[in-house]
């Protein structure tokens, strides 16, 4: 551990927003306004809020797909000035390519991201082995050579998360990745993400509507307001790790969910 050498806090922040606002077109109203937040390396944060509160906008800013209209976004100590390469993304729709098998889909980032891209020709077997191991870890062993339409919704989402992680990004962005799944599948995938993150930590930004999901998975939950999105509350979740699904029926868990729900309630009434 490096605790004795811990640098100043600001450098420890892996992702940092300083008074960030974004309007998609110049002159149009802000999608998010004056958002400041900081995420430690390997921290798991969740953004919750009503529909259209700009949660996905935050994702676009972190990944550098959109530059902020005001303020600064830093990732890994550097200001974001274009698409980030150390990022993996997964969305509500799995977006798997229907002409590729599970394995080929998972391998897609290796064909694009350096240094894998230029070494793919010589090290394909090695990279495919990594992909197979990851596919096994998410419980898709035996489905490597199946096409996406041969997988259930939950399995497609598992493959999608594999694809987001195969190039070992330091930051994983999840935009309502479990939104379209049934309740039981969703809980299974929570555990899958929990295990992946616990075994080999990385920084996670999870955008979700589901407060139970946020409390179960995240270290810190941010509540955002209606448009223009602002951060209304920040809540650290002090539930011990590793968390078991049983924790979702405990009283402290219910208290967290309840507290966050009240914030959302206020937003909806205002």
């Amino acid at each position: 551990m490096h605790t004795c050498l811990r640098p100043p806090v600001s450098i420890m922040d892996f992702v940092r927003f300083e008074d960030v606002s974004l309007a998609y077109q110049p002159g149009s109203p802000f999608a998010i306004e004056d958002v400041s937040l900081s995420i430690r390396e390997n921290e798991f944060i969740a953004l919750v809020g009503p529909s259209g509160c700009g949660k996905s906008t935050v994702m676009k800013l972190v990944t550098g797909l959109k530059p902020p209209s005001k303020g600064y976004v830093y990732v890994d100590g550097r200001e974001v000035g274009g698409p980030q390469k150390c990022v993996g993304m997964a969305f509500q729709a799995s977006n798997l390519l229907p002409w590729r098998t599970t394995l080929q889909n998972v391998m897609l980032p290796m064909e694009i991201v350096e240094p894998y891209r230029s070494t793919l020709r010589t090290k394909r077997a090695e990279y495919e082995e990594q992909a197979r191991i990851l596919i096994k870890r998410v419980g898709l062993a035996g489905f490597e050579d199946k096409f996406p339409w041969e997988l259930s919704g939950g399995m497609q989402q598992r493959a999608s998360i594999c694809r987001a992680l195969i190039h070992k990004p330091r930051l994983l962005m999840l935009d309502e990745p479990f939104g379209a799944l049934d309740a039981f599948t969703r809980e299974e995938l929570w555990c899958m993400v929990r295990d992946l993150w616990q075994e080999e930590p990385f920084t996670v930004v999870l955008v979700t509507h589901d407060l139970r999901e946020a409390v179960f998975l995240a270290d810190t939950v941010y509540v955002m307001s209606k448009r223009p999105g602002r951060i209304l509350a920040r809540r650290e979740i002090d539930l011990p790790r590793p968390r078991d699904l049983d924790v979702t029926y405990s009283e402290p868990f219910a208290d967290y969910v309840h507290e966050l729900r009240e914030h959302i309630g206020h937003i909806r009434q205002s």
Partner: protein, 257 residues
Amino acid sequence: MLSQKTLIRLAPWLVVALFGLLWEGIVVAFNVPEFLFPSVSAVWHSTLDHWDPIMMHATQTFLTTLAGFAIAVVFGLLLGAAVGSSPIIYKALYPLLVGFNSIPKVAFVPVLVVWFGIGTIPAILTAFLISFFPVVVNVATGLATLEPEMEDVLRSLGASRLDILKKVGLPRAMPYFFASLKVAITLAFVGSVISETVASNLGIGYLMMAASSSMDMALVFAGLIVIGIMGVVMYELFALIERKLTGWAHRNPNGAM
């Protein structure tokens, strides 16, 4: 009893046979003179009588059509890729393309004749001009309907526009592309035959013009049927290639290929 499957396979042949019988029956029943509307059997005899010239002209038409079609595919693919991957090019070129496509290509043949003389070249160019449009539209549609999330995933990995086009855009546009090939090949036959009827001394179009001027209606119909057969064969060929290469887009809902 025939099984459902064999019945489906035989159905097109049965329909063709039925159509032929109906045709023959009408001509015989109403005693239609051959110089107006020849019976199937008369067309068949005429085909056998003129087998060598028909084959010669059919080969000419076939090769001409393929040449025009090949140019249309290359041109359509390139233009479709440009139109589909850039909203500016899309906006800029669409009115011109639609306008051009609205011009009857037969009206264009005289222009081509002035430029290139009569014969094979105007026929190739007419086949090209009439058949590239569906290729452009379909390839452009396939590219333009790429999911924005998919683009975000790739861009966040640092993919260039060319990467996105190669890895996702073009493979995704392939079913659209092959669907357009089936339309384009049949249109290409229309184009080359039109040009041959107006300005050529070779090809099925020319054969039909020559035959009709000597009131040999049986030979005219033989020409029509030969064009039809070539069209069906090429259509089926591209349908087969389509199924082989883009089976992922034509799967059954229950999952089996």
